[in-house]
């Protein structure tokens, strides 16, 4: 059988040194920003003004800066959660649902025991959030380990089950009788609100703590090592005597639990509403997957990437009212950045060489092989 030789030859690269990797990534990000900026110009918007609005929208005042941080936190924590499962190559697309269930769990505790001492109540809510989110993920891990159920599709389905559970609670059991016209869940009692430190609720301390904690967990603990071995090859892990199923279930539980905690912190910490709504996750679970991926699953990377994503989101309102550019543009911008970086990834993993000049040589080689 004859096969045509392709001009472009692609081969796998040995892993790059950290410095080279950083250079490639710098290039990729630069390219991504350039291309997205080109898109901004294409819409007929003044590019300088655009970035001015991005900066102003978030740093103009104390209030907007607080808003920025509030925007970043759920995304940051959820991305960290996603990163845990992704490290093991377990495609947890269900962060959205796990976050929602965490919020539901926390709200349940707040409604059931509103008069507990404040500290105890918050602790119980956090525990409920962690458990509810974690179990929502563990469910999938269990079926995946036991029967090989596809985790991507199952986590995806559970996202919507969780979303409609909130709708059911809103329309029925938890419906606010005070709001006559429309259905909503009442705000949490004041006793269930997170305390504030430095003008923002304590979520930021927990989030930063989680970044460091996960960094250590991945890098210096036995469990972190197990995660990466299972991620590379379940076979290897099995032969090394690891309890693969146990590790998978534990890891997915941790991943989902962190997402659940993000949900609890969001309802309990969000300074304006303190309320469980259908939009409690609002796509954060999906964006988190992208953030985690862009950050190469590195906790500190997640911190940086979610900062920029939060910045864009926060500024989208200012951009819409100031530049008459739809809020949705920030989604387009994020999409382009991701596309470019996903594409660049290829050049980090593979070497591309042209074989234009060596056609003759190829022929000779082939001739030799045929002899």
């Amino acid at each position: 059988m004859k096969k045509r030789e392709s001009i472009i030859h692609i081969s796998k690269r040995p892993p790059l040194s950290n410095w080279k990797m950083a250079t490639y990534y710098g290039l990729a990000i630069l390219c991504a920003v350039l291309i997205s900026s080109l898109f901004v110009i294409l819409t007929g918007t003044d590019i300088v003004k655009f970035y001015q609005f991005v900066i102003d929208g978030s740093f103009k005042s104390d209030l907007s800066m607080r808003g920025l941080v509030r925007n970043i936190l759920p995304l940051l924590i959820t991305s960290l959660g996603v990163a845990v499962a992704f490290k093991m190559k377990f495609w947890n697309i269900g962060a959205e649902g796990q976050l929602i269930m965490g919020a539901v769990g926390a709200t349940f505790v707040a409604f059931t025991f509103p008069n507990l001492p404040h500290g105890l109540l918050i602790l119980l809510m956090a525990l409920a959030g962690i458990l509810a989110g974690g179990i929502w993920g563990l469910l999938v891990a269990f079926f995946n380990c036991k029967f090989g159920t596809n985790e991507t599709l199952l986590t995806l389905m559970l996202n919507y089950v969780a979303l409609y559970i909130v709708q059911w609670l809103r329309d029925g059991p938890w419906r606010d009788p005070a709001a006559k016209g429309f259905q909503k869940i009442p705000s949490l009692p004041k006793n269930a609100w997170l305390d504030q430190v430095g003008g923002i609720d304590i979520t930021w301390i927990i989030a930063l703590g989680l970044v460091v904690l996960l960094f250590v967990y991945f890098k210096y603990t036995k469990q972190g090592y197990e995660i990466s071995v299972v991620g590379d090859s379940k076979g290897t892990a099995h032969y090394a005597g690891m309890n693969v199923n146990g590790i998978v279930m534990r890891t997915v539980f941790i991943s989902a639990a962190i997402c659940g905690l993000a949900g609890m912190l969001h309802v309990s910490g969000d300074a304006t509403t303190h309320q469980l709504t259908m939009g409690v996750a609002n796509g954060v679970g999906f964006t988190a997957i992208i953030v985690a991926w862009l950050a190469k699953l590195n906790p500190f990377g997640v911190l940086v990437v979610s900062f920029f994503f939060g910045l864009l989101e926060k500024s989208s309102g200012a951009i819409e009212s100031g530049l008459h550019l739809s809020k949705a543009f920030t989604d387009v911008y994020q999409g382009i950045i991701l596309f470019v970086i996903l594409g660049f990834d290829f050049f980090i993993r593979y070497r591309v060489s042209l074989r234009l000049g060596s056609k003759k040589k190829n022929k000779e080689l082939k001739g030799e092989a045929e002899q």
Binding site: M1, S11, K12, T43, W91, I93, F143, F147, G148, T149, N150, T152, L153, L154, L156, M157, L158, Y160, V161, Y164, I165, Q167, W168, D171, G172, G283, F286, T287, I289, I290, W293, E320, H324, L325, S326, K327, A328, F329, T330, D331, V332, Y333, Q334, G335, I336, L338, F339, L342, G343, D345, F346, R349, Y350
Partner: protein
């Protein structure tokens, strides 16, 4: 009787966009790519279809526009995952975010250039997308209303689903697609052009999803543009792929069932009024009807994995990129 006929009619109308999305995604997954960008592709098709219809008043051009926009979106996905070996899950999600963003951004601009009013297609366009049905046949009692009185797109969706079923099961090219989705290394060894097959099917699949978007913006929206029109129907389509066991023929029935859940949210009261034994239906919260497609799909996923059936499962290599040197 009328209640049942009307309900069936509504179920078909709500199920059709899902049928488009599902057929497109089945084609994509059969060639070995899990494209989670259906929602984004539908949004892109929804905008393109509406915009062309709004500007030209020509349904054929509108459908072509929607198809092309879907193809374009899928091309980005195919280039990244097939040529550049990017992770399929992440690329698909990015496509959803990107496609939704593009449609909403352009939709915002369309509203702005219409002095802030919702754009509406003209009367001739409205006639073209109305439920005019098939002449003569539509006048048959009962059957006429149930089967022959829909808008053109419903029939288009059915034809496409049947064609894709025929293509995948009865033609050599289609069987090749399945081979690529099941075991690309073996298919490669037997001389199939893996990348070309993947590209073609991902792009056509994306185009079909785009048509589903056009259905949503033109027919569900009754010719009015709404920036949030797709609102999750792309994800229901992904669920329906599993429900239909990767078979476009079963997807026709599946879309009818999932469409019925949507229709029930509004029509439960009709049933309760007509048949007293169905009065419990109004007591079921609408969240349950909305949740059902996802719950059923989740259960099916679990059951089919327990039974370890070879048939009716996701193509074996779906979601995994194929790199020749690694086989």
């Amino acid at each position: 009787m009328n209640t049942i006929i009307n309900f069936f009619f509504a179920a078909v109308r709500s199920g059709t966009p899902l049928l488009f999305g599902t057929t497109g995604e089945i084609l994509t997954q059969k060639s070995g790519s899990l494209n989670l960008g259906v929602e984004g592709l539908m949004y892109m098709g929804a905008f393109a279809g509406f915009f062309v219809a709004y500007k030209t008043g020509n349904l054929l051009l509108a459908l072509l526009g929607a198809f092309l926009f879907g193809v374009l979106g899928a091309l980005v996905y195919a280039f990244l995952t097939v040529t550049l070996q990017a992770n399929q899950n992440v690329t698909g999600l990015a496509l959803t975010i990107f496609g939704t963003g593009v449609a909403q951004m352009l939709g915002f601009w369309m509203i702005q250039s219409n002095d802030g009013l919702k754009p509406i297609v003209n009367d001739s366009m409205m006639r073209q997308i109305s439920d005019s049905g098939i002449p003569y046949l539509r006048d048959i009692p009962v059957i006429g209303k149930m089967f022959f009185s829909y808008n053109v797109l419903v029939y288009l969706a059915l034809i496409i689903a049947v064609l894709v079923w025929f293509y995948l099961n009865k033609t050599r090219a289609g069987l090749n697609v399945c081979a690529v989705g099941e075991n690309p290394a073996a298919a490669d060894a037997s001389g199939l052009a893996i990348n070309r097959i993947k590209y073609v099917n991902i792009m056509i699949g994306g185009g079909i999803c785009g048509l589903g978007g056009a259905y949503i913006s033109l027919i569900n929206g009754i010719g009015n543009w709404d920036n949030n029109c797709v609102s999750g129907q792309g994800w229901i389509s992904v669920a329906l792929v599993i429900f239909a066991a990767w078979n476009p023929a079963k997807a026709i029935l599946g879309s009818l069932l999932f469409g019925a859940f949507t229709a029930l949210q509004i029509r439960a009261a009709d049933f309760a009024a007509e048949f007293s034994f169905l009065s419990f239906m109004t007591k079921i919260p609408s969240a349950v009807y909305q949740m059902l497609p996802f719950v059923i799909t989740a259960v099916i996923l679990i059951i089919s994995s327990i039974r370890q059936k070879k048939e009716g499962n996701q193509p074996a290599a779906c979601g995994i990129n194929y790199y020749r040197e690694e086989r």
